[in-house]
Assembly symmetry: C2
Homo-oligomer: 462 residues x 2
């Protein structure tokens, strides 16, 4: 096995029996299979606050909140206590024929925190299933309402909504779908906002979402076959933290209402204050028909997901038992009490007085400090909403020419980051920051500065 030149611990790490056993047995998600043999995985032993600690005691800042899930920091005393308390009563019980207090509390909190039209909560385990449930509810709703032809969805180019085959069928990224295109349901891809390279030459701060025309055309042409439109509101995460203005979402809401099409918000990555408000829909007075949440809901402790919808949808399922008009869908661990208990404590922490103000302050610091990234000669754009910051690196700043994929500059920067105590995970040429909210101002400064150093170390050699 080849040891990589950049990671100082490589040769030593590759003799670690745990890492060798991992290499022999485990197939890691979204990982080119040869990578762990060349660049050893980080063997993380414990975590605290914004830091991960490997088995040699080295510390790494969890810059991307462990795939965007951790909100309040690792090993949080109050979350640990909530988990322990629930464990002492009951880890899990099934959720058909049975209910329990942690789920009842959580559903009430979520309904209180989301727009008024969202009145029903359906529980599941992960983001993909939350999306699958929204799609299936929408399909069945139209069937029950005498519009069986409405059996397709529109989705945005570069959009990401999970990778089970239903969720994948509304993903607009070839990276995820190209091996499976022939078995996916026939949905409609729509060119969405592309603010950095706006074809109208406008700025996201001042435009009127002129790019919405493409979606309007789709709705005009296909509304008879369209069940719904699914979007990641404000930030297309896996696309590289592509950010677009709320006016697009307002237009989408109005157009879908006019055309009798559901609006599905996937706030799995952006919910729970990531963009500055508890939810995008609630912060911007928007009213999706379905809202999918997961990731941060347990502050990165446990898998849990919910799909919220409105009474107009729910009531359509009130048929009798015999005609099976009800929604036949379940997951064994729906509304897992341990996960619900941690979610309740997460929401309690987010709702504490002063929390959102302190986050706004941190977001401001991050924006300010990130100015130094804009000085880099490879900065195509630094963009930020709330606690999500993203630097798009380009080879030519004027022409915004991307670095070629085969250079893997993101992966090289990731490895440089490790040597500087950062766990980054760039999305292609986009280095992004999505730290736990527990990050302090001086840590924000360290994060941005070290990321800049890592980028320079890689790109100055190009």
């Amino acid at each position: 096995m080849v040891c990589d030149r950049l990671h100082p611990d490589n040769k030593k790490a590759m003799t670690d029996p745990d890492l060798l056993q991992d290499l022999k047995n485990i197939w890691h998600p979204c990982t080119p299979l040869k990578d762990p043999a060349i660049t050893p995985l980080l063997l993380v032993d414990r975590a605290s606050g914004i830091y991960l600690f490997d088995n040699k005691g080295n510390r790494y800042m969890d810059v991307i909140s462990s795939w965007w899930v951790n909100l309040l920091g690792h090993n949080h005393p109050r979350l640990n206590r909530a988990l322990s308390r629930q464990m002492e009563k009951m880890a899990h019980v099934m959720f058909a024929g049975i209910t329990h207090e942690p789920a009842i509390r959580l559903a009430e909190r979520l309904i209180q925190g989301t727009p008024d039209n969202l009145t029903r909560v359906f529980f599941s385990d992960n983001g993909s299933t939350a999306v699958e449930i929204a799609l299936k509810m929408s399909l069945q709703y139209w069937k029950l309402s005498g519009h069986a032809k409405k059996n397709r969805f529109a989705y945005l180019k570069d959009g990401y909504h999970g990778e089970t085959l239903g969720a994948l069928s509304v993903c607009g990224s070839q990276l995820f779908r190209d091996k499976f295109d022939d078995v996916l349901m026939s949905n409609v891809e729509v060119q969405g906002p592309d603010c950095l390279r706006c074809p109208f030459g406008l700025k996201r701060e001042s435009c009127q979402a002129e790019c919405f025309d493409a979606m309007q055309n789709t709705l005009d042409t296909h509304s008879e076959s369209l069940a719904g439109v699914i979007v990641e509101p404000l930030v297309q995460g896996a696309a590289g933290m592509k950010m677009y203005p709320p006016v697009y979402l307002k237009k989408l809401e109005d157009a879908c209402k006019a055309k009798n099409v559901h609006v599905i918000y996937d706030e799995i990555a952006v919910g729970f204050y990531r963009t500055g408000s508890m939810f995008v829909c609630q912060g911007h007075e928007l009213h999706p028909t379905f809202l999918c949440l997961s990731k941060g809901i347990t502050s990165g402790y446990l898998p849990l997901a919910v799909t919220l919808t409105e009474n107009s949808v729910y009531e359509a399922f009130q048929g009798s038992f015999e005609n099976f008009n009800w929604f036949v869908h379940s997951h064994s661990y729906s509304a897992n009490p341990l996960a619900c208990a941690v979610a309740n404590e997460t929401l309690a922490l987010l709702e504490e007085p002063g929390f959102s103000e302190s986050l706004q302050q941190k977001s401001g610091v991050m924006r300010e400090v990130a100015c130094q990234l804009e000085e880099l000669p490879w900065c195509g754009e630094y963009r930020q909403i709330g606690m999500i910051g993203a630097l798009e690196l380009v080879r030519d700043r004027e022409k915004l020419t991307p670095f070629p994929v085969e250079k893997r500059i993101g992966f090289e920067i990731f490895k440089e980051g490790l040597t500087r105590g950062l766990f980054l995970r760039p999305l292609g040429n986009i280095v992004y920051f999505m730290p736990p909210y527990a990050i302090e101002e001086d840590e924000i400064k360290t994060m941005i500065r070290s990321a800049g150093d890592s980028i320079r170390a890689v790109l100055e050699k190009e």
Copy 2:
């Protein structure tokens, strides 16, 4: 709201503020929407061993292990300790670029406990995703191997493999799929074993799986387009605990090998000693290409799932980063350390000396005691494998005429069971027993006797 005549606590329960809040906010899985308004849900407050306790202190035996997930009993001291210990180190960390000891231990244990050909473990969160991953790996494998036409799966009539749209496309039950048939991938349904009503007039104890002809025909006709065949080995759970002999699986293995088609085992419900051996494949020396596990893997504590496969599959994904031949699939909470820690302790408990013998003993007691169910005038068949027992109720014992669906006799028996301290959840006309292994012999006797009483209370009125 109408209060139901059978449940004594109804009127009182419907004034419970928690239950009313549940009724207002929550959409329960696989539940006709009007049911919770008519028959109050059980508000479970805590659980211990094989018992659930409601908020009034009433005790219910968890006869079906909370949807088949709980193996070792609720609130198990050793599982609680394992969870606490892991929590003190780290609840979760991402699983790309990173690994951790609980996952490494678990993968090694699973590979040790399964047939030799299974050498790689891919982690996810729930049963549906474990199946989706097997389907996607199979599809991509054939594409990478120059057999792009192999893009369909064969599945058994009445088979159940989860309800995300990919998993649903290999389910053979109209109850689950009929609202979504028009968007599912085009797979092939095959008539499988139907031992109670065997068209060949044979017995499952002595036949040679003559019914395999249907599958053989499918393989003969469609092998060029078939990527794989998926089955629930030995027991089709959601179909009503339909049981069939291992000789069917042996024939399937041989035929698929001859036709170059993958075999996918969904042992989500039957794994971890449910049928008497750790896994069906290992106990019967069978070698599926993919093995999906979930449910009992954490003894009913937390959502976790794995898909195991063999090196012949894994090696096909070893392309370079640039051509994206790797498997692009992930879930945020893949290999959640808390869940992995509980899974490791679960497996340690299952592997303790004497465990499998004690289970065999309990299974024997259950089989013996269940004789009294065979005396019931509505007994079409009592069947049992390991710790899964099922009584199929029929209106006419000679002709095996089923009770009509609209009678909902299963639901009536469920309600009678509650009054006798049993949490049953019949599958249509099939009353089944799948208790946690912690059940004691006298509790087995109580369970069977009370179930018999509940059945009589309902059917004597018919």
